[in-house]
Chain length 265, copies 2
């Protein structure tokens, strides 16, 4: 039986310096590439976020509000270009670690409608996997059928890819140990949730006021909302801390690791 | 009436140092970006070649011979990555010159069959043009339905895009002044052809022994063969010297310039 795909999302918060526009954390990126090499996961797909490459520019030019002003054109171009620079740093690290990784540029084949993926032709991604490649996608500026253009978050893309490709699991690497009852960076009484269900996740989404929207694609709050369709489709997701040594390798190898497991029921 | 698109091909020989692997000629790239800015061509599409970024790696890993050996996977990944590095240098130059240029990665949406484009969905490229963007594509490593993978030359892509998008003209910028009766770099008696027809081009193709295959995609010889379907489709093509100051601007503005005009009849 063919192994089911695994989608690994590397959050922008883990791989870039949030406070420094367009600065990648090369130490973490190189270590993650090594962990991915060591894990030898078959049928792996990687999606990464924009962090300090994509978000400040997307915000500056209000890309996610759609095309209103001719000056936004150059902003869209700049934002996409910045994302390809971050992507290239990741590709170089993966290839250096002998991973046959091939970048797949979302804006080259995906259109959204009001910010939601309209169609996702996974033919090339599936063929890449069957040929033994590791496709690498990312949050991107994309054309939108109604707004002119929009931001496609890596999180929306991750969940949709997992559904379309029949993935078994999603591993989300961020800069905290999982989901908490409050923002652990601001509230020391915040407790990590070991396991949540899709239904609890929905309540969590509507009930939690302490989670703040920190990036143009919604931060942790946005991530959770985006995961729900994949979870309801039967995909298991685990949120772990990509900044902690060996965590992504362990998660890829199904070893026990601190994090939050999200399942359908 | 809507202007018909113009496809501008920038040859790898003009924008990279052929003798130096992965070294771009930034002086030329920056000047070309300025010329493209000054020309203000509407509905422009740019395609660039691989030069010393793509060709040496593609040759080293025999990418165009198809997938025979697991070691080629990393080679395919490396070759594509190198092409994205060259592309990024060009994108940065175009954006610096206020051109809302957006990279469209051929391997993300094009499949070939025995090295020939199988299907080309121009939906996103057309939408980019309608939104005022300048799509930029390039010769790339692509998945192939029969060979596993292949090289898609910028020349094949240029001609096919011109046909599919209903382009009026193709401007090919190379490192010589046009087509010659022999290789002008090696034969001082070589004469430039001012104008040739598709039929003459076919004879030229079969009759010329002096044109040598200098790159994995066929060099000048390959360029000519690839243009024929577009010319027969009614697209005008002009081959000019992109390394000569102001030549690409003049060609884009339909001003008189040294070169070879290729027309159907």
């Amino acid at each position: 039986m063919k192994t089911k795909p695994t989608v690994l999302k590397l959050g922008g918060s883990a791989i870039t310096y949030k406070a420094h526009p367009q600065r990648a954390n090369m130490r973490i990126i190189d270590r993650l590439a090594k962990e991915i090499e060591d894990a030898k996961t078959s049928r792996l797909i990687i999606v990464h976020g924009g962090g300090s490459f994509g978000h400040p520019l997307a915000k500056k030019y209000a890309i996610n509000e759609g095309f209103h002003n001719p000056a936004q054109r150059l902003g869209f171009a700049e934002t996409h270009e910045a994302m390809t620079v971050l992507n290239n740093l990741i590709m170089k690290a993966l290839i250096r670690h002998n991973i046959p990784a091939v970048a797949v540029s979302p804006s080259s084949f995906i259109l959204t409608k009001q910010g939601r993926i309209q169609e996702l032709d996974t033919n090339i991604i599936t063929r890449m996997q069957e040929t033994g490649f590791v496709p690498v996608l990312y949050g991107d500026t994309v054309l939108d059928l109604e707004k002119g253009f929009a931001i496609l978050s890596g999180d929306q893309l991750t969940a949709r890819l997992a559904i379309e490709l029949g993935a078994e699991r999603i591993i989300i690497g961020v800069d905290v140990d999982g989901l908490y009852t409050a923002d652990p960076k601001e509230d020391s009484s915040a407790k990590r949730l070991q396991r949540v269900t899709a239904r609890e996740l929905e309540k969590f989404h509507y009930g939690t006021k302490t989670l703040k929207v920190t990036d143009v694609t919604g931060g942790m709050h946005g991530k959770i909302i985006e995961l729900i369709p994949a979870i309801e489709h039967g995909v298991r997701a685990v949120i772990v801390n990509a900044k902690k040594h060996d965590t992504i390798r362990k998660a890829l190898c199904n070893e026990r690791v601190a994090g939050t497991l999200i399942e359908k029921e």
